[in-house]
């Protein structure tokens, strides 16, 4: 088993919490993991990404080579496209359609959707809308994790356990909220997977 995942978004959108959940689940499943993060300057509203690599064998590089990522998981539509050269032929692009517009030359939604739909394997969903339905805008990143969950080759129960563990300190309500978001996203992912 080997999964190379690029997590994408804008500084402050919570992609590192997605990484933390997958990371915990992977370690509990006895897998090797390497995860390169971005800290520092670009966290101030700039583009951020994280290279997340899972494998049942030791992993060499912290960075995913070009053309080798299995999944791009993005919480922002324009950011999902920034990393296309890394995606492999059969790779999935899974993104929220909710734009984060903090620059003057942000492209039109129509153009973004056109580009996303050019990819043979893609899932685009409004994570903010689904997060609000689940109970809070704050869990949009976990909705996206849910949408990607059928493609991760990780046991779904391990993901749920990871959420319970990582959010446990914040109380049962927060855990429930995140599990609900995960489930909602997963249903979209499963529908597209078949």
């Amino acid at each position: 088993m080997k999964k190379d995942i690029i997590l994408a978004g804008v500084g402050g959108q919570g992609i590192l919490s997605i990484a933390a959940v997958i990371g915990y689940a992977a370690v509990q499943s006895g897998l090797y993991l390497k995860q390169a993060e971005v800290h520092g300057m670009s966290q101030r509203g700039g583009d951020v990404q994280s290279n997340l690599r899972l494998s049942d064998k030791p992993i060499a590089s912290d960075l995913i080579p070009l053309g080798k990522a299995d999944i791009i998981l993005s919480v922002e539509p324009m950011e999902s496209l920034r990393y296309l050269p890394w995606l492999n032929e059969k790779g999935w692009l899974i993104t929220s359609t909710q734009p984060f517009n903090n620059i003057p030359d942000y492209p039109s939604m129509d153009d973004l959707i056109t580009e996303i739909e050019k990819l043979p394997y893609h899932i685009a969903l409004d994570a903010d809308l689904m997060a609000r339905e689940a109970g809070s805008l704050k869990v949009a990143n976990i909705v996206m994790l849910g949408a990607a969950s059928p493609f991760l080759d990780l046991d779904y129960d391990q993901l749920k356990k990871a959420i319970a563990f990582l959010f446990g300190k914040k109380g049962d309500e927060i855990v429930e909220l995140n599990l609900k978001a995960l489930e909602a996203g997963r249903n979209v992912g499963l529908k597209n997977a078949n």
């Binding site: 370690v27 300057m41 101030r44 053309g67 324009m78």
Partner: protein, 540 residues
Amino acid sequence: MQKLLLLGDEAIAQGAIDAGLSGIYAYPGTPSTEITQYVISSKEAREKNIKATWTTNEKTSAEAALGMSYAGKRAMVCMKHVGLNVAADAFINSSITGANGGILFVVADDPSMHSSQNEQDSRFYGKFAMIPILEPSDQQEAYDMVHYGFDLSEKFGIPVMLRITTRLAHSRAGVTRKLPRQQNEIKLPANLKQFILLPSIARKQYKGLLNNQRHFLNEAESSDFNHFRDGKDKTMGIITCGLAYNYLLENFPDGGIPYPVLKISQYPAPEKLVEKLYNECDSVLVLEEGYPLVEELLRGLLNNGKTIKGRLDGTIPRDGELNPGIVATALGSEMAVSRQVPAIVANRPPSLCKGCSHIDSYSVLNEAIAQYGKGRVFADIGCYTLGALAPYNAINTCVDMGASITMAKGASDAGLRPAVAVIGDSTFTHSGITGLLDAVNEKSSITVIILDNSTTAMTGGQPSAAFAKIEDICKGLGVEDEHIRIIKPLNKRHEENLDVLKEELAYEGVSVVIPRRECIQTLNKRMRDKQKLKEKRVDA
């Protein structure tokens, strides 16, 4: 033993806690910040009474660590690469004094300048100081090298450098812990003159350092961190330094690299191993993260020998960090990339947060200085450097910490009026105070704007050494009371703030304007923590 999922930075921190550290000192700086942050937040470190603290700058960090080493305990000092420029005086001279308790200089380089002004390679500093350098290839080595580094430091009574780069600092992987060991007891140096660098003593100490060079080389030659792996295809031999080893392995997913490979993670470069590789192979490819240090050693001045491939002959780009693709190209196997970034994808540079006090300060400054024309604002390093970008376009320089005040002074000496310095509160105490004293002593005509957001924001909101002290410091340096002006940078106070700044720009002498409003990020965090505390009380 227990396995933890740690950033390279955190692996070093945990390694230090487990290796019997007594004190860690640092000034924050990407990508080194998380080392000290980890120890400060560690319950275990608190229980063990480990001193963990942010200092005013890297030089004060280094000297405090050296003092702890003098007292016989293990100390670590952490900084980003440019921080070593600030600490260089202490660093270079500490190689002459030598150590008593183990001391590690952890320096995090930032090739590709993700968050820095340059991509200087700290290994050159280590070589300059003639001390052993350790350069881990992964998180586990980073952890293990702290133990080993302290041992090496105590064995030879010498400071040791641990050099990492951004990718390792900020990448997470599983790390297996060692059994923790005790801290040292207080123990004075056997020779109480060891740390007195009077010429007569320094000359002796220096001879000792020179004499130790062959021992450092022997250590590197037999180190487990350096190893030679033979290969059948002798048309090329490969030398990797630090992290580059992984990028090489990545290109041979099924193992079996056909070429002989020398992995270097400890310096001075192991001569015998290098010689063996050089003699056995027709050419050598050098993969190193940073400047071509080993490559230059191999080439010498004339490069009369075999073909050496690396950053100097263009096999690898001369600048920027390595990655698996660059290594693939160097090995002659182009990576197939079928997809391009669509043209509609726009750049998204970092920007000041919504509601940031710096925004209001810059709108006042831009308006106040408009009548004099552009090009008069000497700025510094911090979140406020983003004022260089649109829509603010408010500043004209950013060189090194503290340079705003002294450059403004120099320009004012040249006749540029008004000359304005813009500096953050943490940067001011880091390196701005001495420059302000120069200006006061010479009655220079400058206006210094000290942006006081009560934190070191750029690196994640560490406490600022300047907190609640700025006016007193300025007064103490001799800035006139009536020319120390505090304003509150808020849009609704724009007009009154504008009047204040205009007055001070017109003043012929040293004036200080202090826009004071807390950073939005630390304010929000404080509010969240308060709320949590309240909830806890209600629960109880």
